[in-house]
């Protein structure tokens, strides 16, 4: 019996098969492009003590200072991204997180009860388990 070489396998591909294969590959590429692009956030939402204190559009730069139990948290917005510049909290997690730019991303300064989240195209969940 002949060894199953590449050419042997290619014999089984008919002209239409190549067409279907190309269409299938195109569908794969399209699904990656369309579904993995990620949601573009359109505004930054700032909360203090659970209440929304500001909604900043993400198309222009802005700065904001929010008061919390420990002191003032400073938030900076640039086109398509936002960050916590300074926070009185002891561990500085939200500051060290740096710029956040994906829809649904959150920077939480828990000690000062301030959070900065990006919203875009409906409410997205942060995780799904099944």
């Amino acid at each position: 019996m002949a060894r199953a070489r590449l050419t042997t396998w290619l014999r089984y591909l008919r002209a239409g098969d190549l067409f279907v294969l190309a269409a299938a590959a195109a569908a794969c590429v399209a699904s990656f492009v369309l579904l993995w692009r990620g949601e573009q956030p359109d505004r930054a939402i700032v909360r203090a003590g659970g209440q929304i204190v500001a909604e900043l559009p993400l198309d222009r730069a802005a700065e904001l200072t929010v008061d919390g139990p420990l002191g003032q948290t400073r938030i900076e917005v640039e086109p398509r991204r936002a960050r916590v510049v300074a926070d009185p909290g002891p561990r500085q997690y939200c500051v060290r997180q740096g710029w956040i730019s994906r829809g649904g991303a959150v920077a939480i300064c828990a000690p000062n009860q301030v959070s900065l989240s990006l919203n875009g195209g409906g409410n997205s969940h942060d995780s799904l388990s099944y």
């Binding site: 089984y12 098969d17 279907v20 294969l21 299938a24 794969c28 579904l35 993995w36 799904l128 099944y130």
Partner: protein, 176 residues
């Protein structure tokens, strides 16, 4: 021996379908032993049998073999009526419907590889539809769709080539 009150007449069609379904079930069980990185991504080797049956004996036999395989396979693996069973059943029904259309393509141009790819993509679409409508009612399921489609591309191609190879190799055998 006591005679049975009901007489089941077993036609040649029945034995042929049973034999082919048994082959498909064996492949399903064997495949369940292969560890896989993501739930839902698997080669679907049993579909090779479905493709061969469709090519040789037509859509009705392919539907019997495919659905019997889903039913008996899930019973053997303890998945009957579990979410995986419904996903599997939805995928199989979707592929069978797609194959019902694809089998009318001219055979001179479109071989088992076309059938296999069409069936694999329809399988994923059927599964995603059920998952989205019922199991995970959130658009988050579509996040994994590109991975599933890529798997459909790879395994659809390889299963189609294997089916084509078996059909070419044994086209004169198995005539009973």
């Amino acid at each position: 021996m006591t005679r049975s009150a009901t007489e089941l007449t077993v036609s040649r069609d029945d034995t042929r379908i049973a034999r082919l379904a048994a082959a498909a079930i064996a492949l399903t069980v064997a495949e369940a032993a292969i560890p896989l990185p993501l739930p839902g991504v698997k080669p679907g080797l049993a579909n090779i049998v479905t493709l061969i049956v469709l090519w040789r004996y037509g859509w009705r036999d392919a539907a019997w073999v495919s659905l019997l395989r889903v039913l008996a396979g899930s019973l053997l693996l303890g998945q009957f009526l579990a979410p995986g069973f419904f996903l599997s059943a939805a995928g199989s029904v979707a592929s069978l419907l797609a194959l019902g259309a694809a089998m009318h393509l001219p055979r001179h141009w479109f071989g088992p590889v076309s059938h296999s790819l069409v069936a694999a993509f329809a399988h994923i679409c059927g599964q995603l539809a059920v998952a989205r409508l019922w199991l995970v009612p959130h658009d988050g399921v579509f996040y994994l769709a590109p991975v599933f489609f890529s798997a459909a591309l790879v395994f659809g191609l390889s299963n189609g080539l294997i089916a084509a190879h078996l059909l070419a190799d044994r086209s004169h055998a198995d005539r009973r």
